[in-house]
Chain length 129, copies 2
Amino acid sequence: MNFFEQLKFGPDGLIPAIIQEQKTGRVLMMAWMNRASLEKTIETGKTHFWSRSRKKFWMKGEQSGHTQAVRDIAFDCDGDTLLIQVEQKGAACHEGYQSCFFRSIENGGKSVKLTEPQLETPEQIYGQK
Amino acid sequence: MNFFEQLKFGPDGLIPAIIQEQKTGRVLMMAWMNRASLEKTIETGKTHFWSRSRKKFWMKGEQSGHTQAVRDIAFDCDGDTLLIQVEQKGAACHEGYQSCFFRSIENGGKSVKLTEPQLETPEQIYGQK
């Protein structure tokens, strides 16, 4: 059966995609894809998403150069989530961290801690605003 | 700042939680939490979710015994996704696979392949229906 027939896009036409660095197993980010961005991701081998806040089709790294080369695309039992293995160029997070998940909770959620170093500042990545 | 103040639950009151096996780095599943299930997860150290299809609060493993002991709770730059490290008891997927992401695409999405063995059948996990 064709892969797309096994997927369930949400009522908004989107499906969440978890992005994992294949080499390290680090989960880098989660973003949303519509069918067009998933097709483009498969076709080009670079991740493409749909931004819900900007209502815009985008390629990861189009501004920062921090692109993601796709190594594997998996989907879950319910067909409503994607897990994509990538080779990440530079920091995945727009705040300059390797992963967007750079903070964890402490003390039962009363405080948070940084769990990885900031590799670059947003200004270094995107230039002065 | 309190952790909860940094989170953005969606208009439906839910936030997606990616569940990763800490020991292996394997992404096991993605499920949804409301504030109550996240608080219960922190309080008990076992993952709790909100089922969108069943409209029901549930603890992972309540039927199967395949519970998840929480080792770390991280959140992303936008505060709209959680990444939870766990120690998984048994198969995470209700279909009997270690991970819900047991299928990957082949041939540009024209076909799919199994990427891990089925450890148990659903009948073995949940009993005959």
